[in-house]
Symmetry: D2
């Protein structure tokens, strides 16, 4: 299982890209994978091919009407660990013995 | 105002780096800046010098006992927009007319 | 065609990771895709499935003996543009009317 | 000393952003820091405050006429190592006992 965070934006569609980001979130939300949306990207959890398959579907959707697209992806693989969408944040809070803003 | 997401990890301190990440979150949480922690990083909102000042303090803390450090940073500046730690996610939910996992 | 830059490192294998990075470069160099190595990553040019296929093969190789792996990826897609491994740098030099350090 | 790779682009200035990227390279090239330009970004080497100072100057220049700006930054700090703009690539080539495309 990997955690994958990504964000994807068109260049050349103006300064507001919420319409395009929303279409990606629609793809993500219907993918069946667990995820968390944050102000700078979306974190998915799953097997390598599954999470990258979602990124690819978002790309295929976006390039239908966008000629230039930027995408940043960060992957954290850890053997034998699952449920890390929740456990990584919980682990930090446990270390600090207090709640953080999530 | 900018949004800045970052994550910072030592190399050469083993596979579990929660202890080091927790110290960064302590610096962030006490910085006075608004932030959101997610499973892959922390998003800060503030002026350029303030948010980068926090990243620098996390780095200064980590290099006291870490010889190699990796850090990824992503910045989204938008003139005249504030409160985007909440509003960017809300905007996507409004576009899709439903709640997402956050 | 997309440009894809990536870097991939193990956590928990010590501070020097050159051995692992070299194995990735061996995969890349033998892939048949065009690429450029720089001090912080490798830039590949090709179709989406081809460049991501290379990243996946580097991951499969690394996880044989690494329990935790970090990977950052950046993609720049531009419709109808090829040869950008060379032309993007050339375009900047043309704008500035002078040679830069490459 | 740190290695810092970054790229910075405006959103809302059309699909071609070479004009804006060139202005950043002009700032970088005149900064006095050593650097290498590649097709996806620029790698700087120097002390933390110096390399981040260059990124900040590129940002200040860009926001004069750009209302939205995206920037990705990756930092690799290694205690007691300098000259890594050249030595990291050389180390990989030495491991593989052959020249790579740079």
């Amino acid at each position: 299982m990997v955690l994958l965070e990504f964000s994807m934006s068109p260049l050349g569609q103006g300064e507001s890209v919420g319409k395009y980001v929303s279409r990606s979130l629609d793809v993500i939300d219907k993918s069946g994978l667990d995820y968390r949306l944050n102000p700078m990207g979306t974190v998915l959890e799953g097997e390598w091919d599954d999470v990258f398959g979602v990124v690819r579907r978002c790309f295929e959707r976006m390039k239908k009407d966008c000629n230039r697209i930027s995408c940043t992806i960060k992957v954290d693989y850890r053997k034998g660990h699952a449920g890390r969408l929740s456990s990584k944040v919980a682990s930090v809070e446990k270390h600090l013995k207090r709640k953080l803003r999530v």
